[in-house]
């Protein structure tokens, strides 16, 4: 079984400042990693994913994340945030291989961008 820990439940940041949302996972097998964003009253939207290859993954809206196997982390970063980035962000993990469908989510981090 796997688990995900998002270390910060809320992160306030000023507009145009950089941000990092932290995610650590636990698993006894190889994993795929995801970040989803949830805007108010909307469904989850995929930001980026790590399946294999380069450990630095670029996603939509200028976000990127780096997979660090030794530290079992997959932190999300953006060099300069906008007001429109205000949302809740969820890190998720699933085991690799056939039938890997059951995503395990963290509890989420609410990003508030301050004008």
């Amino acid at each position: 079984a796997q688990s995900v820990t998002q270390l910060d439940s809320q992160v306030p940041v000023f507009e145009e400042a950089p941000v990092e949302l932290r995610c650590n996972y636990s698993s006894s097998v190889s994993v795929y990693l995801f970040w989803y964003v949830q805007y108010p009253n909307q469904g989850l939207q995929l930001l980026l994913k790590y399946l294999s290859g380069s450990t630095l993954v670029k996603g939509i809206n200028g976000f990127e994340a780096e997979f660090n196997k030794s530290q079992t982390s997959f932190h999300l970063r953006k060099p300069s945030v906008h007001i429109s980035d205000t949302a809740e962000y969820f890190c998720a993990v699933t085991e690799t291989g056939a039938g890997s469908y059951q995503l395990t989510f963290g509890k989420g981090t609410k990003l508030s961008v301050i004008p």
Partner: protein, 113 residues
């Protein structure tokens, strides 16, 4: 359709009543998933369909919860004898057979009074 569609978007019911929540996945997606998101929590897996059959229903909390997908497309999540603890947002997602990426709907918010 273009995305995953869920109805109703909001449902308020009384304790003990029966509820059905519907999910219409992306056309051609063979896999369909139900998740539940309680307040302040991340989504939790309920059940997964591959085609018409439930490939994994290990996340269903008890036998009051049941889901069907009779024609391999639309799915209905059914909750009997609802309890206040069932209040949550129920999320549906779909994916193609080859993909590991789930596309989520906007969810159905269930409130049990």
């Amino acid at each position: 359709g273009a995305g995953v569609s869920q109805t109703p978007s909001n449902k308020v019911t009384e304790k003990g009543k029966y509820v059905e929540l519907r999910c219409d996945p992306i056309s051609g997606h063979t896999a369909l998933y139900w998740y539940r998101q309680s307040l302040g929590q991340g989504p939790e897996f309920l059940i997964y369909f591959q085609g018409t059959g439930a490939a994994d229903d290990s996340g269903l909390p008890n036998d009051r919860f049941f889901a069907v997908r009779p024609e391999g497309s639309v799915s209905t999540l059914k909750i009997q004898r609802t309890e206040r603890g069932d209040s949550a947002v129920y999320l549906c997602a779909s994916s193609s057979a080859e993909a590991n990426v789930l596309t989520f709907g906007a969810g159905s918010r269930l409130t049990v009074l």
